[in-house]
C-alpha cells in the first residue's frame, strides 16, 4: 500500500515539474514536439529509477554514521550523488546512441544535460530529507520519473496544437509555455483527491 501510495503521490499531485519546478530547463526546451519529448521522458524515467536506489545505498552505507566508515560523512553527499548521476547519464547516452541513432540525434545536447536536470538530483535530495526506506525510494523514483514523462508529453502535445492559434507575438514560444505549465499545474492539483492517506487519516 505504501509503495502504491508514494507512486501515485509523486506521479500526480506532487509532480516533480508541476509542483516543485524541478527539471524545468529541459522541460521547456525539449517540449516542442511530442516525439523528442517522448524519448527524453523515457530517459528521465530510467535515470531516476536507477540513480535513486543507488544513491539510497550510498547515503545509507557509505555516508551515514552506521555505514562502513563509521563516521558522519554527509558533507560529501552532493559530490557523490552528482557523480553517480553523471556516470549513469553517460551510460544511458551510450545505450541510446547504439539502439536508436535518430533519437540520439534529435535529443542532441539535452541528453548530457539530464545530468544537470534538477529532477534527478532533486529526487535524491528529497529522498534523504523525507527519510524514505529502500522500497519507498524505488516507488518514488519510478513515480517521479513517470510524472515527469507525463507532464512533458502533455506540454509537447499542447504546444504542437497551439502553433496554429493566434497568440500575441510577444507571448509566442517561451511566454506561452510558461503560462501553459502554470495551467497544467493547477489541473494536476485537482488530482489531490486520489491521495488514499487523506481518507486513512480521517
Amino acid at each position: 500500500m505504501e509503495f502504491f501510495n508514494i507512486f501515485m503521490k509523486s506521479a500526480f499531485y506532487e509532480n516533480m515539474v508541476l509542483a516543485y519546478f524541478l527539471g524545468m530547463c529541459s522541460f521547456l526546451a525539449v517540449s516542442k514536439t511530442v516525439k523528442t519529448a517522448f524519448g527524453l521522458g523515457l530517459a528521465v524515467i530510467f535515470v531516476l529509477a536507477v540513480t535513486m536506489p543507488v544513491n539510497w545505498l550510498i547515503n545509507e552505507y557509505l555516508l551515514g554514521e552506521n555505514g562502513i566508515f563509521g563516521t558522519d560523512l554527509t558533507f560529501l553527499r552532493f559530490i557523490l550523488f552528482i557523480g553517480v548521476i553523471a556516470s549513469m547519464v553517460q551510460l544511458v547516452e551510450m545505450v541510446i546512441e547504439k539502439v536508436s541513432p535518430s533519437l540520439y540525434n534529435s535529443l542532441g545536447i539535452f541528453l548530457p544535460l539530464i545530468t544537470v536536470n534538477c529532477a534527478i538530483l532533486g529526487g535524491s535530495l528529497f529522498m534523504v530529507s523525507r527519510e524514505y526506506n529502500l522500497s519507498e525510494t524505488v516507488a518514488f523514483g519510478l513515480g517521479g520519473g513517470f510524472g515527469w514523462f507525463l507532464a512533458i508529453i502533455a506540454l509537447a502535445a499542447i504546444r504542437e496544437k497551439i502553433r496554429y492559434s493566434n497568440v500575441p507575438p510577444a507571448l509566442r514560444g517561451l511566454g506561452m509555455a510558461f503560462i501553459l505549465t502554470g495551467l497544467m499545474g493547477m489541473a494536476f492539483l485537482s488530482l489531490m483527491g486520489i491521495d488514499p492517506s487523506i481518507y486513512v487519516a480521517k
Binding site: 530547463c25 552528482i82 544537470v116 536536470n117 507575438p169 511566454g175 499545474g185 493547477m186
Partner: protein, 246 residues
C-alpha cells in the same frame, strides 16, 4: 629606461580592470540577456522558494556567490581541463562551493536552512551556473568570467525577488517574513506593523486594505509560472527584437 616601461604601462591602459565591456558583462544579464526570461536557464531549482521574499533573497545571494566563484575557478583551470571530463570537473567545483554555502547557512542561520532544505543542494543543478561555465568561463579570462558570473547571478536574483514580491504580497499579505524587516500588511500583525496599522486606521488609511482577502492562487506554484510568463510578455512587447519566431 625607466621612462619607457612607464610608457608601456600607459599604452596598455585601454584594458582597465573595469571598463565598458566589463560593465556590460554585469548589466546585460539584468535586462536584455536575462538568464531566466531570455536564456531560459535556471528556472529549475529555485522557483518553489518564491512564495516569500526573504528565502528568495538568500537563494539569490547563494547563486551569485556560487556562479561568480565557479566561473572564476573554471576560468583559471580552463587550459588544464581535458575536454572529455570537463563536465565532471565543473560539477565537482560547483558541488564543493554549494557544500560551503550549505554549511555556512547551517551554522549561522539554521531556520533559513531548514526552510530551504533541498533547494540549497539544487543550486548544483541550476542551469545558470553550468550554462555560464560552458558558454563563457571556458573561453574567457578569470576576471571577466567572475564578472559574468556575478551579473548572471544578479539577473536571476532580480526575477526571483520580483516574483516573490508579488506572490508574498498578494498571497499572504506580508513582506520579508522571517527577516528582521518583517512587514505584515494584511492579516495577522506583529508589534511593529500593528502600530503602523493602528495609526493608519486612526487617520483613515487602514481601511484601504480591509476589503482585501488573501489570494490563495498566488501561493500555488502555478502563480510563479504565470508571473514569469507575464514578465516575458512585458519584456518582449517592449523590445520586439527578443521575440522568438518558432
Amino acid at each position: 629606461m625607466a621612462e619607457t616601461t612607464v610608457q608601456d604601462v600607459v599604452v596598455k591602459e585601454p584594458t582597465l580592470p573595469f571598463g565598458k565591456k566589463e560593465k556590460k558583462l554585469l548589466t546585460d544579464p539584468l535586462t536584455d540577456n536575462n538568464p531566466i526570461t531570455i536564456q531560459v536557464l535556471g528556472i529549475c531549482s529555485a522557483l518553489a522558494v518564491t512564495t516569500q521574499v526573504f528565502p528568495s533573497l538568500v537563494i539569490s545571494v547563494a547563486v551569485v556567490f556560487v556562479c561568480a566563484f565557479s566561473s572564476l575557478f573554471t576560468s583559471l583551470l580552463r587550459n588544464n581541463i581535458p575536454k572529455q571530463v570537463r563536465m565532471i570537473v565543473q560539477l565537482v567545483i560547483i558541488a564543493t562551493l554549494v557544500t560551503v554555502v550549505e554549511l555556512v547557512l547551517k551554522a549561522f542561520s539554521f531556520e533559513v536552512y531548514k526552510q530551504l532544505s533541498v533547494f540549497i543542494g539544487l543550486i548544483i543543478t541550476n542551469c545558470i551556473v553550468m550554462g555560464r561555465l560552458e558558454a563563457f568561463a571556458l573561453a574567457n579570462k578569470p576576471w571577466r568570467s567572475f564578472l559574468d558570473g556575478i551579473g548572471n547571478g544578479l539577473g536571476y536574483g532580480l526575477i526571483l525577488i520580483a516574483v516573490a514580491f508579488f506572490r508574498e504580497l498578494f498571497g499572504k499579505g506580508t513582506l520579508f517574513t522571517g527577516s528582521p524587516a518583517e512587514l505584515n500588511i494584511i492579516g495577522k500583525s506583529n508589534e511593529a506593523t500593528s502600530f503602523m496599522i493602528n495609526t493608519a486606521a486612526e487617520s483613515g488609511i487602514g481601511s484601504w486594505f480591509s476589503w482585501y482577502s488573501n489570494n490563495n492562487l498566488m501561493v500555488l506554484p502555478a502563480a510563479a509560472m504565470f508571473l514569469i510568463g507575464i514578465f516575458i510578455w512585458i519584456q518582449r512587447s517592449r523590445n520586439p527584437k527578443l521575440v522568438d519566431i518558432s
